[in-house]
Amino acid sequence: MLEVANLEVVYHDVILVLRGVSFQVPDGQIVALLGANGAGKTTVLRAISGLLDVHDGDITKGEISLDGTPIHRASAAAIVGRGVTQVLEGRRVFGEFTVEENLRVGAHTTRGDLSGQMDRVYELFPILADRRKSTAGYLSGGEQQMLAMGRAMMSNPRYLILDEPSLGLAPILVQRIRDLIVDINKHGTSILLVEQNATMALSIAQHGYIMETGKIVMDKPAAELMKDEDVQEFYLGLHSGGEERKSFRDVKHYKRRKRWLS
């Protein structure tokens, strides 16, 4: 189980971004982490993967543990080595490398059986096998997302962390990515899914957490979240009361900010 407890993160020594975030990713599950822009989702992921240094961020309180062993002081390389791999937001493939080279970089921490691992990834993403010699930077957005996910799978992770895999993709491709996530999960990899596309995320997750301004404000099984009135209104774009359209005034940002804990 991957567990985050009371995590507090500060950027540049002064900007408090996370104020006591706690959640769990149990083995074999898909867990969704939802929230508006700037809620701190990406910061949580950076903290887990050990990438805060790059952004001059520090964990000031709290703990991240993998099966009870703390990993928040470990280096990024050590964390990948222990089976927690992140697919960064915006795909970030190595544009000048070929597809195959990208995958080889992904296997950096796994010694031995490179070709076996690559075959497994090609099986998961057949389109990558067709493009294995193409320059990654010229692939389409959907293919790049699959490459980024395939590259992460090369390290044979126990926990795969996905930061907005549906970002900037056409609805049909969002479906494809969604099915692939379910597929990867079925093969035994637990998944932490950060999404703006709440409908997609909640449709495959077992449990969902909602973040707002650096805190978890609600957590429920995904099915219950889907039915929650506030979630429907704020994240799923549905509204509860009757046929009548809401006036624009009511959806103004400051009105929408809800006190979840009250």
């Binding site: 990948v80 960064l88 970030r92 190595f94 970089v105 950096h108 590259r151």
Partner: protein, 298 residues
């Protein structure tokens, strides 16, 4: 024709030295987007170490070169750890300035150690040469060209096929993503400085193995490798080699022909030629002959 052949041999020899230095510059540049102005000083240190092992300690020459290269790799490692690593995340300009400071710190004691006398590096080939088509082919030139070729091919294969080489290229492209793949980026930086240091030692040894020997002014050879990398485009291994060839040959041909073609330029104009080439390339192709074009979907 003989004169031309002779100039070409001289040019290729010079190019070998420049190539070994330029490759070091490029490896460091690729890793951290910084031109290390300390590189010529590192070269001087390497040449001195080889000379010290071979002449003062008296170990066999090949072993002296290996030991000198290792010592210089260690110097590269220490420079990176002590002076450069704390600067990561700071503006690149600041890091470049730190390398200038590093240059002074390394060069001053080495100049003292070298002293006023010219030192040899204990090279075994002396001034013997073969004759090819009427031109002299010094053993030294053959050793230089072969070594540079072997190292270049080795680097090419290393970057293309090995796990660590690929990790170095990945780090050069996007550090955060490299970290997320489990690459130890700090170790990659250290490795880049060590490789560059070892190659600089070999280059310095060759530069100091001619009549002039090792003196404080051997340093100038290191500075002339800068035009080579700019001509090649800073971030390209192939470019570094081609840039070294262009600069080395231009320098050698000028040295041979300028006195008869344009005597009014005075003697030793060949020393200026690398910078003339540099200016010309910057005016025509500011990103260098081999600067990498950005891969982007339009």
């Amino acid at each position: 024709m003989t004169t031309f052949l002779q100039a070409t041999i001289a040019g290729l020899s010079l190019a070998s030295i420049y190539a070994l230095l330029a490759l070091g510059f490029v490896i460091i540049y690729k890793a951290m987007q910084v031109v290390s102005f300390a590189h010529p000083a590192v070269m001087l240190f390497g040449a001195y170490m080889v000379s010290w092992f071979a002449v003062d300690v008296g170990v066999p020459f090949v072993l002296a070169v290996v030991l000198g290269a290792l010592a210089t790799a260690l110097l590269g490692y220490l420079s990176e750890r002590i002076a450069i690593r704390p600067m990561i995340g700071k503006p690149l300009f600041s890091i470049a300035i730190v390398t200038i400071g590093l240059d002074v710190v390394i060069r001053t004691p080495i100049n003292n150690l070298i002293g006023l006398d010219i030192r040899g590096v204990g090279s075994p080939w002396g001034f013997n040469s073969w004759t090819v088509g009427g031109a002299n082919l010094p053993h030294r030139s053959v050793a230089m060209i072969v070594t540079a070729l072997v190292i270049t091919v080795f680097l090419f294969l290393f970057f293309r096929y090995t796990r660590v080489g690929l990790a170095m290229r990945a780090t050069a492209m996007d550090q955060e993503v490299a970290l997320a793949q489990g690459i130890n980026v700090g170790r990659i930086f250290a490795l880049a400085w060590m490789m560059a240091g070892a190659m600089a030692a070999v280059a310095g040894m060759f530069a100091a193995s001619d009549l002039a020997g090792l003196s404080a002014s051997t340093y100038i050879v290191g500075i002339k490798a800068l035009p080579a990398i700019v001509v090649g485009g800073l971030d390209s291994i192939n470019g570094a080699v081609v840039g070294a060839l262009v600069v080395g040959l231009a320098e050698a041909y000028t040295a041979t022909y300028q006195s008869s073609v344009a005597p009014w330029l005075g003697s030793n104009f060949s020393q200026v030629v690398p910078y003339v080439v540099l200016l010309a390339v910057l005016l025509i192709r500011p990103y260098g002959l081999f600067g990498s074009a950005e891969v982007e979907r339009v």
